[in-house]
């Protein structure tokens, strides 16, 4: 009955977070519904001409993915803070940054991954060329993982505040910009037929950097929020 070692504990947290998400399917569906609604707004606002939509499609898809990620990142640690679980997590003997990574991985699996998988449907609605779909999925897979990690930093810093929603947007939207720029550029390159590999490589590099550094920032943020 010894304490679970770090790997075991992270697997246990991941399983717990995924089960919690499964028991609240509506919260998992909400970002997807939001994504759908905003995508539907664009043809109404910009006009339904297929050529025009195809030009804007990469940017529209990426901005919407970013916003729907922003919508959910506030909730990563919220319920655990409210019911006292976060205090227990902070006091756990296992390293907090790895526990935080498990939380972020669960968040990405239930938001970014799903979004990337359903994005082709919406891409076709916006008349994005079929040849760019592969790049869109890969760029969203890499990019939303970065967004989840960055969002986790904002969530950790604002979890102690009653209304952290607006503040978290102001905190992390500037950090989202590089992801948006290279994510959109990758899809646009695929549309025009130029190589999208370099952009995807940069997104991959951002992800590596975020995986290495964001958990440390999240752990520090959680300790500060619990202390306050």
């Amino acid at each position: 009955m010894s304490a679970p070692h770090t790997g075991q504990f992270c697997a246990l947290l991941l399983r717990r977070q995924l089960l919690l998400a499964m028991r609240r399917p509506i919260e998992m569906g909400n970002p997807l519904l939001f994504f759908t609604m905003v995508i539907v707004l664009f043809p109404l606002g910009l006009g339904p001409a297929p050529d025009k939509l195809a030009i804007f499609a990469p940017g529209v898809l990426w901005i919407t993915a970013l916003l729907s990620n922003l919508l959910t990142s506030d909730a990563v640690f919220r319920s655990d803070f409210d019911d006292g679980s976060l205090e227990q997590l902070v006091l756990a003997p296992q390293p907090l940054f790895l526990s935080a990574l498990a939380y972020i991985l669960a968040h990405w699996l239930t938001t970014g991954l799903l979004l990337a998988l359903v994005s082709p449907i919406f891409a076709l609605m916006l008349n994005l060329p079929v040849s760019a779909l592969g790049t869109l999925i890969v760029s969203l897979l890499l990019g939303t993982a970065v967004l989840s990690l960055l969002g986790g930093i904002g969530a950790a810093l604002t979890v102690g505040l009653k209304r952290g929603g607006v503040l978290i947007s102001l905190l992390i939207l500037p950090l989202y910009l590089p992801v948006l720029i290279f994510g959109t550029a990758a899809v646009q390159a695929a549309v025009t037929g130029t190589p999208s590999g370099p952009y995807l490589a940069i997104l991959g590099a951002m992800l590596s950097l975020a995986i290495a550094l964001a958990p440390l920032a999240i752990a520090a943020g959680l300790r500060i929020s619990i202390d306050a």
């Binding site: 009955m1 717990r16 202390d227």
Partner: protein, 205 residues
């Protein structure tokens, strides 16, 4: 301070001072907690009991003066029960975020039975009452192997019989060489010796 306790203290606080909102809650507070001791922290509402507990367990790391030394990993139960409404009591204990131990189903069943939740192991926790949530949390005391327990108001929302049983558990933990530091407004009725720390008057035996 008890002179009978031998060896290094499980928890030692050295000259703790805390000011909150311009008011000095405690000043130069020193206490050593050894195995076999039960400490009750007393004080009126707002006297700083919870603040002291959070400092002792390590949740508060800044904003106070002094030093806290812990030679063992304590088990801390705070005001919030840390029970997830969407998980059953069994899942709550099995996958507890405190990372304390991996427990078998039998161990969890036994612990839940001890806190009077036999038959509630696999129902969603949101169907349980507030007191039952607290009991799920108290079940951790039956599972834990931690020597030092830091309990912040453990009897809140617990019925009279539950309080008696919990007090008996605390006494047996102390008899077994463990240590308990707790806050409570109720006078303890335990068989072991109770050390009292009154935040208004300073340390009294």
């Amino acid at each position: 301070m008890s002179s009978s306790a031998a060896g290094a203290p499980l928890l030692a606080a050295q000259s703790l001072s805390l000011v909150r909102g311009g008011r000095e809650l405690f000043c130069e507070l020193s206490v050593e907690v050894h195995g076999g001791q039960l400490w009750q922290i007393e004080g009126s509402n707002g006297a700083g009991k919870t603040s002291l507990m959070r400092i002792l367990c390590g949740l508060s790391r800044y904003g106070f003066e002094g030093e806290v030394l812990r030679s063992v990993t304590p088990l801390y139960l705070g005001h919030q029960p840390a029970v997830k409404a969407l998980l059953s009591p069994r899942e709550n204990l099995q996958w507890h975020v405190s990372g304390e131990g991996l427990y078998s189903n039998e161990q969890i069943d036994t612990a839940l039975a001890r806190v009077g939740l036999c038959g509630y192991e696999d129902v969603p926790s949101h169907t349980l009452s507030a007191g039952q949530h607290r009991r799920v949390n108290l079940a951790r005391l039956f599972l834990s192997e931690a020597r030092l327990w830091l309990l912040d108001e453990p009897f809140t929302a617990i019925d009279k019989q539950g309080v008696d049983e919990t007090q008996a558990l605390l006494a047996s933990h102390v008899d077994g060489g463990g240590a308990v530091v707790m806050t409570s407004h109720q006078p303890l009725q335990v068989t072991c010796n109770v050390h009292t720390l009154n935040l208004v008057h300073g340390v009294v035996s």
